[in-house]
Amino acid sequence: MEQKDDTLFIKLIPYIDKYGILLLIAIMLLVLHLLQPDVFFSWRNITNIFKQISWQSMLALGVFMVIVTAGIDLSVGSILMLSLMALAISSRAGLPWQIVVLVAPAVGLVCGMINGLGITILRMPHPFIMTLGTLYIFRGVGNLISGGVPIGGFANQIRSIGNGKIKLEWLYGEGAAQYIPSSLIIIIIIYVIFWIFLNQTKIGKWIYAIGGNPGAARAAGINVNRILVLVYTLCGFLAGIGALILAGRTGSAYPNAGLQSELDAIAAVIIGGASFFGGRGTVLGVFAGVFIMGLLRNGLNLMNVSVFWQQVLIGSIIILAVYIDVLRRQFGTRK
């Protein structure tokens, strides 16, 4: 009865498409809990996961917006590193923390704008080329200004942004160890703002329209180039925020910061169900994608599984996620 199985499978596809990612997260949580019953669901471990994914979630959100426009940004890891170095240098120069805190987002924003202007004004044939170029340039500049060595020693105010703890003593009683990491609060605030931006505003709608059919967007009177510059600029800005969080977590700027993290960001976006060809994807999906990668790393670390298995698993999940998308397109709701 192969025929019958086929149709049942096809009927399931829209549900897999919609809820599959939540199902995957639920299964992972369950499995990890069963494997590590004492540790996994502890307050300490769960907050750890959010701390670990905090800066990557910023990169992924930026890359997501870019991918929705059918573009790509390979330079986010380098933007993060350059922003971090700039922050460290301004801190070492003795600038007040109120200024230092602005440096990383500002540098990220400028880097993103350079990408956006390059893609539109220099009419690069594909954003891949422009951002591949700046992947080298930004990291190179970061090493030039720092001399290629780590720089440490940030003010406490700076560190508390990525590393702060909001104690829950009022809830759990005097001296309780439970706390909410400040980086989790930052993730929530930024993701909510960008969810509103992408789903409730004109520009958000246009960003999706551009990814689906740039010609249609142009014909509808939308200034496509201006929106693209904005999207790449915001992507850079988010990488700068990521640098600020990372500064708090590590307490120093180092030459390898964010190395290859652009690939993790792309992976999270794809696992989260966004179409690599633009026009489709959700903010919640991106968060799910980042979370899945975080869970995987955390769980495998807890069980002392080699980092090489993490690579194999993440790669497999990427391919599986896209294969589900392929099936959806083939059998899905298309008439």
Partner: protein, 261 residues
Amino acid sequence: MNSEEKKIILKTEGLTKHYGGVKALHDADFTLADGEHVAIVGDNGAGKSTFIRQVTGVEIPTSGKIYFDGNLVNFKTPADAKKAGIEAVYQNLALADDLDVPSNIFLGQEETYFNLGPFSFLNENKMFKQSIDVLAKTGIKIPDIKITMNNMSGGQRQCVAISRSAGFASKLIIMDEPTAALGVQETKQVEKIIRSLKENGVPLIMISHNLRQVFNLVEKIWVFRQGQIVGCVETSKTDGNEIVSLITGVKQGVGEEASFI
């Protein structure tokens, strides 16, 4: 003549577009009176779409002048043409595939709660309701307007594209082969929309390969051949044979077997 008393809504003088060595459009003088419905016909590659792209700001002409609504205009983008009051339905179905019907109908001119420029908050509810009205006005039936365009048939897509342009108050509507990809029923639907535009006095330029349709719908036919305008005849004073001769450049004996009929 009657059309001379009426206001001229669109006029081109020596409109020319060259792509490298290809003279896609050469020295086109075209006029359209307010309220007038005309067709542009011609063989494949005759320059019809190129002409439309110059008038709607999709491309910038190599040379020549365009007057719209009494003013010399210099559209740099489709947004400029839209602002001036020109709505176009393009041949390549200019729709955002991953958005739903209301989003496409209102693309670029979304309804919002209050104006914050591009950061305005969308009034999805209002757009949903107005889309239903617009589609009802044009007699188009789409079961669920919340599904995305890439899940719709060619006919449904074209109907959305047309209601999109017909739904907004505009001074001129241009359609490039609006029924080329449609079935019989859907073609009738589109023709009905075009007739209602005529009744409302909205001028229309339509590119079509379907001479029956052209004779049924418009009062004037402009014929393009090899990038040039080779004729302009009133529908009531011509027949299929003459149009086909103009299209092909062959004087006689083409007639019935031509694919245009």
